[in-house]
Amino acid sequence: MIGGLVGQQMEEPVAPLALVLGQPYQDAPTDLYIPPDALEVFLDAFEGPLDLLLYLIRRQNLDIFNIPIAQITHQYIAYIEMMDSLRLELAAEYLVMAALLAEIKSGMLLPRPQDSEEEEEDPRAFLIRKLQEYEAIKKVAGQIDLLPRQERDTFNVMVDVSALSVARPLPEVQIKDILLAFQDVLKRVEQLTHHQITKEPLSVRERMAAILEKLDGSDSLAFAALFTRSEGKNGVVVSFLAVLELSKEGIIDILQLEPYAELSVRVRTAS
């Protein structure tokens, strides 16, 4: 199913590509009638350089064991260059593969030193093994996708036991489990540089929830009503930060109906 799907996806972008590849192309194909993002879709259709290479080989009904290295290298590199000229972001792995292909091609042109003691592996064998292994995995992955699976092909039987009044013990949780889980989340987030969690003190987050709760059910509240004298200076600061944060996140609006009038706060609703 997967194979068929990908095949379909590739139909459209492939036709013009083959056209370009059919004749040596010179410049960035400005008159290309498929927009660059279609090529991006094309690129997305591949799971990596091995996948692309397999596709190029299979498209011509070639045998993995008998790849015309020069021809395939040309096609692959032309493809990479086109991607590059369209300034599409290309994963480094694609370039590594281009380098490997070029190396194999050049290696085949040179005579091998007869006296090389070290049994260096033929780079073709290396590539063929990788292609074979990847193709085998790709095939079984497709077959796994077809296996009857829960929630799609089979469903668990849900029989009610509530009438038996049997108590189901709730899972026990230690606070440490939660902290550990959050520590993991933070570590993961740190690895993704683009995602920055701002670190407001917890008291502020808690107060934000409390203020929303207070606002729930009332149209609006006087700004002053959100502060409790008995909490002292720290409490006021926490409340103030919470109000600012809620406003920043677009959850509440702070309103002043006329100059010098008292500020009021209300939950933002669809205008």
Binding site: M158, D160, V166, V173, D177, F182, Q183, V185, L202, E249
Partner: protein, 208 residues
């Protein structure tokens, strides 16, 4: 395919009582059997299960397969055997709600980088550890979740600020401490070494 066959499958797969009308709605529009036909199927199924340990029961909101009453003794032993445990995903979700409240499901998913199933939110709501305190004014008006008093009570916290601050949390090494890293050690629940060891193992195996 026979109507009766399909109705039986629907009743077994449903996680809620199903009225005759609701069963009809499950069929695609052009294939819906008449209500009396569905009722006839239900009656026939009821008869089929008369002598089995599960049977169709008519509740206020519809029909549902139930385990028969005389079997409570064994079924309760089934549940006692394994009290269950919460998934990693659930723990992360409750942690994010505690630290980032008020927060929407979408925001939780953003932080986790993985989808949050409705089952998790449902479990947390049912356990009354989180609740909806409002809706965010963005398309879809997603619910804003926060933790509850019950959540604090369960963990013997008087306020969220007793949890370690985020900056500290990153640097706490749980593998060397056997005490929860709270300012005050308040927990009265026994902490077995076994469960701690498991937690740590899980934590270790996850961190690379």
């Amino acid at each position: 395919m026979q109507t009766k066959h399909i109705v039986e499958a629907i009743l077994f797969a449903a996680d809620r009582p199903m009225s005759v009308r609701q069963i009809q709605q499950v069929f695609p529009e052009l294939e819906q059997p008449a209500l009396h036909e569905i009722q006839a199927a239900i009656d026939a199924i009821s008869t089929d299960y008369l002598h089995r340990p599960v049977g169709l029961k008519l509740l206020a909101s519809g029909y549902r397969f139930q385990v028969r009453e005389g079997l409570a003794y064994w079924v309760s032993r089934l549940f006692a055997e394994k009290p269950g445990r919460y998934s990693r995903a659930l723990l992360e979700t409750i942690a994010i709600i505690a630290y980032r409240q008020p927060v929407t499901r979408g925001e939780i998913e953003d932080i986790r980088g993985v989808a949050v199933s409705s089952g998790i939110i449902q479990t947390l709501l049912e356990r009354e550890w989180v609740r909806v305190i409002g809706h965010k004014d963005v398309p879809g008006r997603p619910a804003l979740y926060s933790t509850t008093r019950q959540f604090l009570d369960y963990f013997n916290l008087s306020s969220l600020s007793e949890l370690p601050a985020m900056e500290e949390l990153v640097n706490i090494d749980f593998s060397h401490t056997h005490q929860p890293p709270l300012q005050q050690e308040k927990s009265e629940r026994p902490q077995t070494d076994q469960s701690e060891a498991d937690t740590l193992k899980a934590a270790e195996s996850k961190t690379e």
